[in-house]
């Protein structure tokens, strides 16, 4: 199978959609991993082996992209010729940014107080906001409201980073 000129969803026999069937993704990923395993090409020519390695790396990138909701959102925007990373302050609401500063102040305070319960509660609340926003992204994407979808993607980037930071703070307190 040639992987060029296919979108990442097609790699895994999935429709181009924000909803992804996790079982299909895992199953098809394993199939591809077997098909393009470097060991199978041990006797192949150098140029063939290089190509197989390139394919393996492309497959991994596709898997990461389709599996992660945030990367998948960015990829779907790219497929619609929208640059998800284009820097434009007008895509961010002032109230949203204000809330982001407050949340990071809360995180600092909870970390300083070593308040693990507080951190866990905060993680729950931010994760729930994030899930609502992911649903909103899908609604906008399906309605082809791509400017709004990009704005939601940019807001989601802050929330994903914040959840990572809360988890890092928790791990530090638990001394992992």
């Amino acid at each position: 199978m040639s992987l060029t000129n296919r979108n990442y969803f097609e790699f895994f026999s999935l429709p181009k959609s924000f909803q992804v069937d996790a079982d299909t993704l895992e199953r098809e990923y394993k199939k591809l991993q077997t098909e393009y395993h470097p060991d199978k090409f041990a006797d192949a020519s150098d140029s063939e082996r290089v190509q197989v390695l390139q394919h393996a790396s492309l497959i991994n990138d596709a898997y990461d992209t389709v599996k992660s909701p945030l990367k998948r959102a960015a990829y779907l925007l790219r497929l619609e010729n929208i640059d998800p990373e284009e820097h434009n302050q007008s895509h961010l609401q002032e109230a949203f940014l204000l809330k982001q500063i407050e949340l990071r102040e809360d995180l600092e305070m909870l970390t300083a107080k070593k308040d693990l319960d507080g951190l866990e509660k905060m993680k729950g609340s931010v994760t729930s906001d994030r899930n609502t926003m992911l649903q909103n992204f899908e609604v906008c994407y399906l309605a082809s409201e791509l400017i709004e979808a990009k704005s939601l993607y940019n807001s989601l980037q802050f929330l994903f980073k914040l959840v990572d930071e809360i988890e890092a703070a928790e791990e530090k307190l638990l001394d992992y």
Binding site: H87, Q89, L97, I101, S155
Partner: protein, 129 residues
């Protein structure tokens, strides 16, 4: 990637961290963010009747370069008029701090922040552009 000495200095001893009363009509607030790195920046200026910036405060959650860019900016804008401050270019900040190309966007964020703060104080004073 190593930070320059100037970035480290601002990062370790940030100038003018804090907040001012946003309800004060002489205070302009600029809130900006960089989604790709999750950085958020709040820059506030206090402006007198002559349009001169008397004080500036910032709070930035982000990398060292973003913190240094906003810290340096608060030093630069004090004593300038708001018209002057709105003219500060990100390239001046990047040059002063010796930011590498991958960190230029941090100085852009600081420029966006001062512009937003100036436009906020103008709006409050009924001179919206």
């Amino acid at each position: 990637m190593a930070y320059s000495d100037k970035v480290l200095d601002h990062y370790e001893n940030p100038r003018n961290v804090g907040r001012m009363d946003d309800d004060d009509e002489n205070v302009g607030t600029g809130m900006v963010g960089a989604p790709a790195c999750g950085d958020v920046m709040r820059l506030q200026i206090k402006v007198n009747k002559e349009g001169v910036i008397e004080d500036a405060k910032f709070k930035t959650y982000g990398c060292g370069s973003a913190i240094a860019s906003s810290s340096l900016l608060t030093e630069w804008v004090k004593g300038r008029t708001i018209d002057d401050a709105a003219e500060i270019k990100n390239t001046e900040i990047a040059e002063e701090l010796g930011l590498p190309p991958v960190k230029i966007h941090c100085s852009v964020l600081a420029e966006d922040a001062i512009k937003a703060a100036v436009s906020d104080v103008r709006k409050k004073r009924g001179k919206s552009e």
